[in-house]
């Protein structure tokens, strides 16, 4: 009647799986992350090797603030790590973080990349860049505003307008130009789309190779992942089919987003948690961010990977992350209003 599995083994399994996390011993730190495990693991392995502190992780996609908030005082979470700034803002809003007073963190992380009260710290940066066909385009410079230029009619690829990466870009656009101009811009970009928004950033490169479109928007680190061959020979080919331009706002710099972390409000292993946060901005960890993940380090003077370095000098837009975060809702509603994804 039911698939048969040795009952004893099942019993052992169930009893192990049902062990509550609170029973975990000290000398550990518990990490809830919306950052994909593949990107975090090399960092955590290095931390454990350095300190002997074991890191228990759970990768959560949507709902991290809701989960920590529901767990309340008994939450095992020590460090909350997020994939972009919007998530960090949500955590602070949900009241599940606590301020960190750490000279190390304050010294390493530039002021515009951390909360003045220490409730969050950015750990790495990436730029939202232009992928352009090597064969069919020849661009030296590009502005985000130009995405709406009718010259690109039927030639633009992009992932869903509601994806956090694009949501933040559109929110930044609002910060620069206001809602009405952003609406007009989105309508223009939509008119230029070669296909329905969807898939991932790397599908933009693939679609350019497939001649579905000529230009598109994607994150900078995907370029490294593709071109380095880390994603296999197919992706290497996609990466080589595109030129990268670091676009800017007409009146500003390149849109960057950050991954970051915060100390959980009821962290049971508070000291270990702060050690982990401090480790993540150490030279060793920042080098991993740069080499393994192809991100821009937040630490002054830390080297970026040669592939990323070759993209040219990054001039980050100076709009405050908190201001961008405040326009997220408006950005999402504009995407709906112009039917961007339809």
């Amino acid at each position: 009647m039911l698939p048969t599995v040795p009952l004893r083994r099942l019993a052992v399994f169930v009893s192990l799986a049902l062990l509550p996390a609170a029973a975990l011993a000290d000398g550990e730190v518990n990490l809830y992350t919306t950052r994909e495990p593949g990107l975090v693991k090399p960092l955590l392995d290095a931390f454990t090797e350095d300190t002997g502190i074991a890191v228990n992780t759970v990768f959560v996609d949507a709902g991290l603030p809701e989960r920590v908030s529901a767990e309340g005082e008994n939450s095992p979470a020590d460090v909350l790590m997020t994939v972009d700034f919007g998530n960090l803002a949500d955590l602070v809003d949900a009241g599940v973080t606590q301020p960190v007073a750490s000279d190390v963190l304050d010294a390493v992380v530039p002021e515009n990349l951390r909360d003045p009260e220490g409730r969050w710290y950015a750990l790495s940066m990436r730029a939202r860049v232009l992928y352009a066909s090597k064969d069919r385009t020849d661009l030296d410079a590009f502005t985000y505003e130009e995405l709406a230029d009718p010259a690109w009619n039927g030639k633009v690829c992009i992932r869903s307008g509601q994806h956090p990466y694009n949501n933040a870009l559109i929110a930044a656009y609002i910060a620069h130009h206001g809602e009405e101009a952003t609406r007009t811009w989105l309508e223009g970009v939509k008119a230029n789309l070669a296909r329905q928004p969807g898939g991932g950033d790397r599908d933009v490169a693939r679609d350019i190779l497939g001649e579905i479109c000529d230009i598109g928007i994607g994150n900078s680190y995907y370029v490294g992942l593709m071109r380095s061959g880390a994603g296999g020979p197919d992706q290497e080919e996609w990466g080589k089919a595109i030129d990268i331009v670091l676009p800017t706002f007409a009146d500003g710099g390149t849109h960057v987003n950050v991954s970051g972390a915060a100390l959980a409000a009821h962290a049971p292993n508070r000291d270990n948690a702060i050690r982990l946060l401090e480790f993540l901005v150490s030279e060793e960890a920042q080098a991993i961010y740069a080499k393994a993940n192809f991100e821009y380090p937040v630490r002054e003077g830390a080297e970026v990977d040669p592939i990323i370095d070759a993209l040219g000098p990054l001039t980050p837009d100076t709009t405050l992350l908190t201001e961008i975060a405040s326009h997220r809702k408006a950005a999402s509603e504009l995407v709906d209003a112009v039917g961007f994804n339809d």
Binding site: V14, E66, G199, E211, S332, D336
Partner: protein, 566 residues
């Protein structure tokens, strides 16, 4: 005489319920388990959504509703057409390879929809193998010279989801075709009906309830799908719940939208049941023999085999072959991750535990509905099935506060009484995950148990009861042996569903607990599908065994009785 003695020994009040009470109470407790997260969502929704609805109504709902309706209608047509057609093919005709088709037609059940979406984008992309081959044949050199329709569209989503989900219809309809009285078919033939005539005039009308059950399962899966729809760029209502929640930071608005959708689904289900209220002919299966199959030879046999293989190739063969190739290349390139075995064990472990509980509770609610003659029990069965009509993440969000609330209460009491903190007993362990699976898939097990029980004549219950057996004893000695195949089939469906479940698993699992699905998602989320290929293949492989078991269980009804005889 013993009855009188027994009566005298027991207090009158205890006897008033007649054994049915225990079952009703148990069914009510089960319904409560399911309703808890929905109530929690109601509480969240009641916090007020601000101006969300004016925005939703103006800019989101018209398109999202249209997309959702198109998607559901399209998938509905595909699953009914393919599922019913395939079932008729293997029950009405005999041809070389039919026995393999019999079970192979179930294979797409093993493949999660999001994996199919990833695989097909690879396969059908302009630079993918299929279009490249076409270009080579046509002598074209550049992808720009030949533009084929993009799979990333409503049409693409309909085809992909339809060909992955048709086995739900195939499964229920095939069982019904096998049970159809040969007498009916013979009668139709003596009245001059051709085989095709029998299909449209006898088989399909009789199978309508089974088709409806299968199609409603497939449509619920479609409605609650997130991964494939988002990937294929189809903006559905379920995705609107997500963007309202995540991008507009409006969880109450998202909860309201989810509850409105739930209400609409419940309404549609009620209308559908009402429309079928007179169709109670499905259960009469006494003394039937499967109609004799028409033997095909030569070209017709080949055509039949080809026709049967087509949905298998689309829904299973092509994506599975692609995954095998990708996984092999990946293993060559990066080696085999040592965590894959642990993840597979985790997956099987939680799925198995959830399956056992879901089938047990499904049996409880279905049996309570039966012995209560569908008064209170019927209502409880419907309530217990609500979880299937909600997206996984929404259920998970709904579960967070009841689970953690219970945990913190237990912890508080324990601290007060014993000075020991119990921490998060449920939400800090895989128990939360198992609970979520049970809530989500109780409709499948309860429905399976109900369908099985409906084929057991009520006089068997009465017979057992008047022979001195209690309601519980009757279940054990009469019903369980008789509905074992139906229950086994339901168990396997639940197991496969649990194994593929992603959104609730992501949100509710404890620390350091990866399943194959979460591993795959972790890779897919950062765009490295190829790293997930091994996990994807593992999901398909782990799902394959139960699906083959299922095919054996859902075999012909009559030979099974013959086996009992031996």
């Amino acid at each position: 005489m013993s009855a009188i003695a027994a009566t005298l020994r027991h207090p009158v009040a205890a006897l008033k319920c007649g054994g049915a009470c225990v079952w009703i109470v148990a069914a009510a407790a089960t319904a409560l388990l399911v309703i808890a997260p929905i109530v929690a969502l109601g509480v969240i929704a009641a916090q007020g959504s601000g101006d969300a609805w004016s925005h939703l109504v103006a800019h989101v709902l018209p398109t999202a509703t249209l997309n959702t309706v198109l998607l559901l209608a399209g998938v509905g047509v595909v699953v009914v057409f393919v599922g019913t057609g395939a079932a008729w093919l293997v029950t009405a005709y005999d041809f070389p390879g039919r026995r393999i088709l019999d079970w192979a037609l179930l294979l797409p059940l093993a493949v999660p929809t999001y994996i199919v979406a990833y695989a097909y984008l690879d396969l059908l992309h302009p630079i993918g193998p299929i279009q490249s081959a076409i270009r080579d044949i046509l002598g074209l050199t550049s992808p720009g010279q030949l533009r084929l329709p993009d799979i990333r569209s409503v049409g693409g989503a309909i085809i992909l989801l339809g060909f992955v989900l048709y086995p739900y219809v195939y499964l229920s309809t095939r069982a019904l075709f096998l049970m159809q009285a040969a007498g009916l078919v013979d009668a139709a033939r003596t009245l001059g009906a051709s085989r095709r005539g029998i299909f449209f005039r006898i088989a399909v009308p009789l199978a309508r309830p089974a088709i409806a059950i299968g199609a409603s399962l497939a449509l619920m899966e479609t409605l609650n799908d997130v991964g494939a729809s988002e990937f294929l760029g189809v903006r559905t209502l379920t995705l609107s719940i997500y963007s309202t929640w995540i991008n507009q930071s409006n969880l109450p608005g998202a909860a309201q939208l989810a509850l409105v959708m739930l209400a609409v689904v419940v309404l549609l289900v009620l209308i559908e049941r009402w429309a079928r209220r007179r169709q109670r002919f499905a259960g009469r299966s006494q003394r039937t023999a499967p109609p004799a199959r028409q033997r095909l030879h030569g070209a017709p046999a080949l055509a039949a085999l080809g026709l049967g293989l087509l949905p298998i190739m689309i829904g299973f063969g092509a994506p599975a072959i692609h995954l095998v190739i990708q996984a092999m290349r990946r293993i060559e390139f990066a080696g085999l991750s040592d965590s894959i075995l642990t993840e597979a064990l985790n997956t099987v472990g939680v799925s198995l535990a959830a399956t056992i509980i879901a089938v047990g509770l499904g049996l409880v609610v279905a049996y309570a509905a039966r012995i209560d003659h569908g008064r209170i029990g019927g209502g409880l069965l419907r309530i217990a099935s609500l979880g299937y009509a909600l997206p996984g993440t929404v259920i998970a969000i709904g579960l967070l506060s009841p689970l953690a609330g219970l945990d913190n209460m237990v912890d508080g009491v324990s601290r007060d009484l014993f000075g020991i903190s119990t921490g998060l007993l449920l939400s800090g362990s895989a128990a939360a995950l198992i609970y979520a699976y049970v809530v989500r898939f109780l409709a499948v097990s309860g429905g399976g148990a109900e369908a099985g029980l409906s084929k057991v004549s009520q006089t068997l219950d009465h017979s057992a009861r008047t022979l001195g057996e209690t309601a519980t004893g009757t279940l054990r000695r009469v019903h369980l042996p008789l509905i074992r195949p139906a229950l086994g089939a339901a168990a396997i469906l639940v197991f496969v569903d649990c194994m593929k479940e992603l959104p609730a698993t992501l949100l509710l699992r404890p620390l350091n607990f990866e399943t194959l699905a979460t591993h795959l998602y972790g890779e897919a989320a950062r765009g490295t599908y190829e790293d997930g290929a091994v996990a994807a293949l593992a999901i398909v492989l782990v799902g394959l065994l139960p699906v083959i078991l299922l095919a054996r269980l859902s075999g012909p009804v009559i030979p099974r009785q013959g086996r009992l005889n031996s």
